[in-house]
Symmetry: C2
Subunit: 143 residues, 2 copies
């Protein structure tokens, strides 16, 4: 999903299109790694200097509610956001550069069935995240 479609998505849901929102949206939509509210604020001010940090928080809240972005959980913290995954996609995060990649993991349905049988739970949702090192970082340095 592109930044442009986020804007129409916002509009369709009764929200107004403002310079502040355009800046926040294009910042998150074009980033290859998760950004915290403070990082979004920092970066988006290049595009919209009058931007306030509070507006970043409020815009992120709306984008998350609309399902356009999602929070990324890492050992170091859980304040950062990226473009939301489509359906049954999962995250792959580079531990060096922080870049993130989405991949499909529908092979996992069988696992959930097995677990449900073993535990008596109904499984309704799942989070899967892989941590590793991306090909670019592998080239650049020894680990």
């Amino acid at each position: 999903m592109s930044a442009q479609s986020w804007l129409t998505h916002l509009q369709t849901n009764g929200y107004r299109l403002t310079g502040a929102r355009r800046a926040v949206i294009s910042t998150i939509a074009t980033s290859t790694r998760p950004l915290s509210p403070a990082e979004v604020y920092e970066a988006a001010r290049a595009e919209y200097p009058g931007l306030g940090l509070v507006t970043v928080y409020r815009t992120i809240e709306k984008l998350e509610k609309l399902g356009l972005i999602q929070r990324v959980h890492k050992p170091q913290g859980c304040q950062a956001f990226i473009t939301a995954a489509n359906g049954h996609q999962h995250l792959l995060l580079c531990q060096i550069c922080g870049s993130t990649l989405l991949f499909s993991g529908d092979e996992m349905e069988q696992l959930y069935q097995d677990i449900a049988e073993q535990t008596g739970y109904i499984v309704r949702d799942h989070w899967l995240q892989l941590f590793g090192i991306c090909s670019q970082c592998l080239e650049g340095q020894h680990v």
Copy 2:
């Protein structure tokens, strides 16, 4: 791992055994659901009334460093802790009562291999969490 073995584990690593630590440890070790520092503080004061919140934070920090507890990530927040998983275990959380269960998921190695091939990443770690409803809650109410 029992609360008792946590204590000897602490002692082996040069830490002292105190009333405050015993209370924090037994609180987390016997809980069936993740507890936040504030919740640990609240519950552990029943056993050790003089306990301070700061000590809870400091004890949690040490227990996490020793690998005895782990942080649990949920959509509602990531401040809660439970007994750490053994090796390749994953979490299953009840969305109603909050109780947590650990299960083994070594079937996933093949998936990681596939992803690594497809993306060029080296996969070094993974998080898998399932959310659902436990058998007790299924009995008790309609969802």
